[in-house]
Symmetry: C2
Subunit: 332 residues, 2 copies
Amino acid sequence: MTINRQWILRQRPIGDIEPGDLELVESPVPELQDGQILVRNVYLSLDPTNRIWMSDIDQYMPPVGVGDVMRGATIGVVEQSRNAAYAVGDAVTCFDGWQDYVVTGGAQVLPKGLPLPAYMSVMGATGATAYFGLLDVGKAKAGETVVVSAAAGAVGSIVGQIAKLKGCRVVGLAGSDEKCAYVVEKLGFDACINYKTEDLDAAFKTHCPDGIDVDFENAGGPILDAVMNNLAMNARIVVCGLIAQYNETGPVRGPDLTNVLMKRARIEGFIILDFLGRFEEYFAEMGPWLAQGKVVYDTTIVQGLENAVDALGLLFTGGNTGKLLVQISLEG
Amino acid sequence: MTINRQWILRQRPIGDIEPGDLELVESPVPELQDGQILVRNVYLSLDPTNRIWMSDIDQYMPPVGVGDVMRGATIGVVEQSRNAAYAVGDAVTCFDGWQDYVVTGGAQVLPKGLPLPAYMSVMGATGATAYFGLLDVGKAKAGETVVVSAAAGAVGSIVGQIAKLKGCRVVGLAGSDEKCAYVVEKLGFDACINYKTEDLDAAFKTHCPDGIDVDFENAGGPILDAVMNNLAMNARIVVCGLIAQYNETGPVRGPDLTNVLMKRARIEGFIILDFLGRFEEYFAEMGPWLAQGKVVYDTTIVQGLENAVDALGLLFTGGNTGKLLVQISLEG
């Protein structure tokens, strides 16, 4: 009998996630029925939005139910198959949550050719988020100045590289001098601001002398306030995430909208689910960039499903560079 | 010798306008040069944006200089002409500020056919603001729910009537039961919320059961906060004005952007100056509506240039219905 470990949401966190909010429980993996496959999860994707799913605020999906397995995307390997469409050894993506094993009748088989983590970052929803947010929502054009918060993070790192390939001036924000160096030297941004130590307003005036045309917003809070003070005419603020406020317990206030008026600016939110039908457009453009070495991507991998909750915290403390994954089992 | 009274900005108001911020001074009207006309101002347009022009915040025009005549739009009558393009008695619009007389080489001659105040409200920039904001920026469509703050005001009253003519459900907000009755009974809105006495969130849930598709925002502050809690998917918040914060002295915070993300909403500011080249599109549609009695407009007229500063305060206390004008002299 194979044992499956599952992270169960026991109560909704208030502010930071505390011990007892989630619990790791064990249960036997059920017998396969005809048409089903058994997937052994290898990588679990950790994303800021996971914190939203734990809350019962109005959101873009139903929140995870108290008592349910924590929601999450995984890449796994088919260990047993009673479905002719799947062979043992196939790598697949699942959306069945934080657990060792998935028994399912359907999962998407991954292509071959890239390391598995790439399909959770640059060649997955993370990269597509960067691409459609920047170009479709933000309508970034050559010659424009693009600002990217969480620039060393999974999405931000791809946003900036795409913006550079499209001919934009790109200024990132990150939380340490080491990350800023990485963002400029390895990712090729024109500049990167350490938002923990620099005067944001002065830094934007230095690095964005003509104002900010597109802000790819992952943070919110004081960073967004400073962005609003440095907008170019007809600026677009693309709201991809607001991680600065996900652990807030009181009422959250947003940025002063005065410059939305004065600069005829647009603040627009998007959810990558709305672009699922267009991912191939993105892969068609990113594939060659990757093959030609024009885009790089990094991954921070935390070992062990038992460490998933602690690992999620890294997103809020800036402990990761690039895509954050939990390794649940070995690939081979 | 004709004496001209002019309101001079003496110092920038901090918070509410105080005595001493503006001063009414007298000087002789200069002699006309060849090519010039002398205009006797009849009506002065008062608008919330006047308060912005008195501040030195980053804005869409240079602020009025300290020591300069307060900026404002007027309608006047040509009293003397040394320019063949103008006849004595022509009604013209000027943008030379809060004063009795204007000596100028150029002013736009008004068409005939409507009372002069109409050219400062429904058939002027006020109406065009309503039209382009609602339809061009907000992209309101038949069947959608439109919310309009300051619904009994100059712009809001036109927004709602246009939205009704376009097949929308329209819910206004106003600051008294009398105004709410006016908005529903005379302007034809589907409902109007008294924002001073009603629970805004509950009222929106009652009157906008499918959520708010378009918010034509003139207010900001708590009204906008409640709007953000009641957005429909893909909602558009059109920022026309933020009068709730124009007299703020401390840092201003805006609405929580969480639902911009969850509802894939768009907040977009606009300034009517950007649409000057398209006013004829608006007049072509509004003219027949007016002629057919499908749109009504009201005007609150305060007598006397000397009362202009006090009159401006009515916009912030809700003392006007429809367009607020100062009558500087008699038409005839």
